[in-house]
Symmetry: C2
């Protein structure tokens, strides 16, 4: 395999390419030039060519890209031609929303269990999943193959639980908790910092309103 | 105001500083050196000094930073000493999770309304909020001051609705929909690309398993 030294920046753009190419297919557009794709995506054509060169050559000079081929190659590259087994830890609002999110299953992410420590939630059904007692998590990890654990629990618990997960052999953590998880080599953590994101928005809003006031006084 | 030319990278680090300083205060730690803070956060001390210099001088040579002062300054800088009024568009799983998320209110984000186009959801109570008919959104925006609109609706609707929001004068969009919103100058969009994030995780996992297999054969 040639995709060993690809930068995080390129990796992070792949899902976006995948999304745009899927849209093209939905609209029966089967070939596209790097220029047209670039325009749609608001990036440069040379960026696209560079990115795709990382994975081998998909385009033909003067013809453009074969959308279907590229779509399936990126799908393979991203790894979503596989099926991943997922557990959700924390059956609160975010955990429940994710458990009910139909798109994940369609994309090969299979949620096999949900855990919480709250006695009011344990035993409840979320969609088709019963919420299991978090105390049973180590045993569950011994008995089942889990690729990804979703962490949607409060900060104070997230650190302890992430240790349990990692020592249980889980290789991927999708982290919604407001902590920075220290993972050993070989364990991948992808964080979705919700409150950080909202704070970034509010910072940029307050800055924008400052700029506006400055302009008004010009 | 001096905070006009601060890079997005610095801005994006601010909420994380805020989070760590809040943890220090929770543990009654009232001063900290840039070195100790750096170690906690896994970044360099010079990075911290550079970042904080953007906003003026908070540290004293040989003394370290006054945690409480720094915390409140960053709070002011991020803009969360203000109260923002928020509407949520899309009362599905993610929308409901956000509506029920207690932390937002505590941080000065006040959800004033929720909208959906699904007749089964319109009129329902989510927490204390009644779901309003999306058809009434333009009128609502005329009658109310809205700082931030949360978009948690399917792709096909997100584009049209974002136009309604923007022409209704909303300056901030917190986007959970899988679309890239084209916003005019003065409108801030902060996206939380959930499926993109999960795909990045799966890509990194599949790459990791490839590397592992390569190492096994060494």
């Amino acid at each position: 395999m040639e995709n060993k030294n690809i930068s995080m920046a390129v990796i992070k753009r792949m899902p976006r390419y995948y999304r745009y190419l899927g849209d093209l297919l939905d609209n029966d557009i089967l070939k596209i030039s790097s220029k047209d794709l670039a325009q749609k995506m608001g990036i440069t054509a040379s960026q696209i060519r560079q990115d795709f060169n990382n994975f081998g050559s998909f385009g033909q000079q003067g013809y453009g890209y074969d959308v279907r081929l590229l779509y399936h190659e990126i799908k393979r590259i991203i790894g979503i031609d596989k099926v991943y087994s997922i557990i959700i830890i924390g059956a609160g609002n975010i955990g429940q929303a994710l458990a009910n999110y139909q798109n994940f299953k369609r994309r090969g992410f299979n949620i096999i269990a949900m855990f919480d420590k709250n006695p009011k939630l344990i035993g409840e059904l979320i969609g088709k999943l019963e919420v299991l007692d978090i105390e049973t998590l180590p045993k569950f990890l011994e008995d089942n193959s889990v690729d990804i654990a979703v962490l949607s629990i409060p900060k104070l618990e997230a650190e302890k639980v992430s240790e349990t997960i990692i020592s249980g052999g889980v290789k991927g953590i999708w982290n919604f908790s407001p902590v920075d998880i220290k993972a050993p080599e070989g364990v991948i953590v992808e964080s979705v910092p919700l409150t950080d994101s909202l704070m970034t928005l509010s910072y940029r809003l307050s800055e924008e309103s400052i700029l506006e006031r400055i302009n008004l006084h010009k």
